[in-house]
Amino acid sequence: MSLPAHLRVLEAESVHILREAAAQAQRPVMLYSIGKDSSVLLHLARKAFRPAPLPFPLLHVDTTWKFRAMIEFRNRLAQSPDVDVHVHSNPEGIAQGINPFTHGSVVHNKVWKTDALKQALDFGGHDLAIAGARRDEERSRAKERIFSLRAPGHTWDPKRQRPELWRLYNASVAPGETVRAFPLSNWTELDIWTYIQAEGIEIVDLYFAKERPVVERDGVMIMVDDDRFQFRPGEKAEMRRVRFRSIGCYPFTAAVASDATTLDEIVAEMRTTKVSERSGRLIDSDQDSSMEMKKREGYF
């Protein structure tokens, strides 16, 4: 299948942004979350720099609560000769045994994601982190720059954003400041799927419908991915035909009932769906304006 013209424009824009990020930073890194956006981002990065290898490592912030299928996918990728995959988990999270069932989403997210990310960036001395966030995902993201300035401590101040004109991206910073670069800013979820389909990009099996063990809880379906799952009284796992539109920590990721087992079927489903992608990400709505708050604290 040939690439629609608008995706060719977006592809060129993303490659331009990736090259600016690599050229302007001293120690860039690419955040790799194993999801579909990360798969597209990696595919674009390979195109941007070939025939040379990627000029930055990949960093996976492992919360230890990801789907097992995601970790297997990541470990397979790490075998590729052209990528260098770093993995970091917050040692305090391990020491304190932070888990989604006992501590809830706010603490879980702060320890395993925000704090862990800040540790890994500081440890690697990275002045710029490339990530796959899109502006259509969430309304505070719609207001963020493609090169987003972070103050010392990785915090984001929406009122201190730099004007971003033409194709000029500014990664110059004062000591202690860093930049997050978002090459997929102008892509929509449908663009991502259409591109995956057209380019034949490999993605985690969780995006395709399959019989999976799920529990219905608070109106959503949660997959029982391992024996750490804590059942509430009366709950039991049932096999349902489901898939995931967005993947993260399995206890916080809602499955959707679906029969889409191929990319064609997923794209067809996308064109008719009336529910937003991140509605399945339970941590987004745990507080008012919660994405903006997480970003202010240093979440990507």
């Binding site: 629609p4 013209a5 608008h6 424009v9 977006l10 592809e11 060129a12 490659v15 331009h16 090259r19 600016e20 690599a22 050229a23 001293q26 674009l44 195109k47 941007a48 720099f49 070939r50 025939p51 040379a52 290898p53 502006r135 259509d136 969430e138 309304r139 505070s140 719609a142 207001k143 929406p158 009122k159 730099r162 004007p163 971003e164 004109l165 033409w166 194709r167 000029l168 500014n170 990664a171 110059s172 910073v173 004062a174 400041e177 800013s185 102008n186 929509t188 449908l190 663009d191 996308m270 064109r271 008719t272 769906t273 009336k274 529910v275 937003s276 509605s279 008012d288 304006s289 903006e292």
Partner: protein, 618 residues
């Protein structure tokens, strides 16, 4: 979501106007019509509308667009937002600029890439000063097509006479500022008249709906027969034999076999390969992200432009329009890092020629530019720059002014005219080349650039190094900061522009001595990284060794052989580095000297050893 794309493409559209004009309603409508608002987002919108909204039980679309908590609570749009939707024929990117707050800065940003602008006005109010501003900025930023959406036609009884009179007023404004492609469309965004379908209540209107007018716009693109311009983002050497030049083609068409020149270095080569994201290709068009291989190795680095004939000029002075974006006013004499294409050069504002009076749309004299003002300025460049008028190329005519410390974006400019004072000068070829001169002295010419705080020990160590080299029979020249200011640079003070010029002249003089085959020892505080990078660039890669004389400021104050720190502390000297002016330490100096731990003699010896190791002396 929407139906599959038949033919496709992408259009970038700027929307501007105030909330009162019904802009959010209009955008909300467009997003709805094309299925870009999912059900759960709609539910959240209804929830927020009850809490913060101004529309009673109906959804308040402004809240859909206002993404930040502060915006929703205060009911104002603070920042530019991007929205996406897709019709049967193409994909749209809407850049939505707030009407009041920071309007110039936000609108200029949203307009910088826009193919079309929708200016929204209230039919009851007609053309307001704000409409004139929006039109002026659209013109300034080179937005090719402007649609005037005259909204709330229901509130004036769909009266054609009112519409005609507003359209005529706007046509007069457009003529005054030189906007060519404008079109007026009557709307009732709330009910959807003329948004996507003709409004039956306005049967007298024969023109297109807003959507039809947008669908008829073509994305701005450079003429395919224009000369090719490739600003180089990165140079890659995956192995010893190959070099690739990476960049986005800013204009024209580039083909395998074309002769391209690096205008800065004055060298050329033929294009051997072109690699696009989709693979190996014979040609690339404007906007493509390309990887290029040449038929031979020439001197090219990031910031250079590979170009086909006719070649662009190498400017050392530019005149430009500038949108000033920070609270501190722009004053003459201020130096910046100028970012244009992939180049970063130092520029000094030598004149503020005037500013735009938005009420009369005329040019008025001024000494400074305040935040959100638009002015005309002249900039003198410390390094030659490949650029083109903004009307020829947004990519090679649009630039940012960055703070030389910390890199904050302070303004955005558009090149009006680029001037090269060397236009009529040709380089004279000489028989005795720099290499011949150096060989006769049994040394490799280099610049040893000493940088550090005042009283850090630069001059002392530089002097010891020169004595040792002369004792070894080498040929040297020492340039010292204080001494140069007695002669060559006695016309320069300590303001920012003069500091830039001071280092520029020293860099050029060092270069002349390099050509003579000498080892140049330069000892200058040179507090700005960008200035030292300039000196490195002028000397040429491999011929510049940065020596960081690292002495803590407390120790410098204690030594203070000339009593300068004491005077600065007492307020008798201003702009003194280390007291009330900043110093940026080198990130990766070739030599890093710690003067607390080692005596000056030992450090000088270490430098001479290092020169031997590098093959500078042999």
């Amino acid at each position: 979501m929407s139906a599959p794309l038949k033919t496709s493409g992408l259009l970038r559209v700027l929307t501007c106007g105030s909330v009162d004009d019904g802009k959010s309603t209009l955008i909300g409508r467009l997003l709805f019509e094309f299925g870009a608002v999912p059900d759960d987002v709609m539910e959240a919108l209804l929830r927020d509308s009850k809490r913060f909204g101004t529309t009673g039980d109906a959804p308040d679309y402004a809240l859909l667009v206002d993404g930040l908590a502060a915006e929703r609570e205060q009911g104002v749009t603070i920042d530019l937002a991007y929205r996406y939707f897709q019709t049967a024929t193409r994909r749209y990117i809407l850049a939505d600029a707030p009407g009041h707050e920071q309007y110039t800065r936000n609108m200029a940003t949203g307009a910088s890439l826009a193919d079309a602008a929708v200016l929204l006005i209230d039919a009851r109010k007609g053309v307001l000063p704000q409409t004139r501003r929006h039109a002026a900025i659209a013109k300034l930023m080179g937005v090719p097509r402007v649609l005037l959406a005259i909204n709330k036609m229901d509130l004036i009884g769909f009266d054609q006479a009112v519409f005609d009179s507003i359209a005529a007023d706007f046509a007069a404004v457009a003529a005054q500022i030189g906007l060519e492609q404008v079109q007026s469309i009557p709307l009732c965004a709330r009910d959807g008249d003329n948004i996507t379908m003709p409004g039956e209540r306005m049967g007298w209107y024969r023109g297109p709906s807003l959507l039809a007018a947008l669908e008829a716009c073509e994305p701005a693109s450079a003429a395919p027969d224009a000369p090719a311009r490739l600003p180089v983002q990165l140079v890659q050497r995956p192995d010893a034999d190959s070099r690739y030049y990476l960049g986005s083609l800013a204009g024209g068409t580039l083909r395998v076999g074309d002769t391209v020149s690096n205008v800065v270095a004055g060298v050329d080569a033929k294009v051997a390969r072109i690699i696009l994201p989709q693979g190996e290709a014979e040609r690339a068009e404007a906007g493509d992200a390309v990887t290029v291989a040449l038929d031979r190795e020439i001197d090219v680095s990031r910031g250079d432009v590979l170009a086909t004939a006719p070649l662009p000029i190498l400017a050392d002075t530019i005149s430009a329009s500038v949108v000033w974006m920070v609270d501190a006013p722009l004053e003459r004499g201020r130096a910046f890092t100028l970012a244009l294409g992939t180049a970063r050069v130092t520029g000094t504002v030598t004149a503020i020629l005037g500013k735009l009076d938005i009420a009369t749309l005329t040019d008025v004299p001024t000494a400074t530019l305040a935040v959100n003002e638009i002015g005309r300025i002249e900039i003198s460049l410390a390094q030659p720059l490949v650029c083109e008028p903004y009307t020829t190329s947004r990519d090679l005519g649009g630039f940012l002014l960055l703070d030389r410390l910390g890199g904050e974006t302070m303004g955005a400019g558009m090149v009006a005219e680029a001037v090269s004072s060397r236009r009529h000068l040709k380089w004279q070829a000489l028989d005795v080349t720099p290499a011949v001169r150096a060989a006769s002295k049994a040394q490799k010419p280099v610049v040893l650039w000493f940088t550090g705080l005042p009283a850090s020990g630069k001059s002392t160590i530089a002097n010891l190094v020169e004595r040792r080299l002369v004792a070894l029979g080498r040929h040297t020249m020492l340039l010292d900061g204080d001494n140069v200011r007695h002669g060559l640079n006695r016309d320069l003070g300590f303001g920012e522009a003069d500091r830039v010029e001071n280092i520029r002249r020293v860099a050029e003089v060092s270069h002349l001595f390099l050509e003579a085959g000498l080892i140049v020892i330069a000892a200058f505080i040179s507090p700005y990284r960008t200035d030292r990078d300039l000196a490195r660039q002028v000397a040429g890669e491999g011929r510049f060794l940065e020596v960081f004389v690292d002495t803590p400021v407390a120790e410098c104050q204690r030594r203070d052989p000339k009593g300068h720190y004491a005077k600065a502390a007492a307020g008798q000297i201003r702009n003194f580095t280390g007291v009330d002016a900043p110093y940026e330490p080198p990130l990766a100096p070739e030599l890093h000297l710690h003067t607390l731990e080692h005596a000056a003699d030992a450090l000088a010896e270490q430098i001479v050893d290092d020169l031997r190791m590098r093959g500078v002396i042999f």
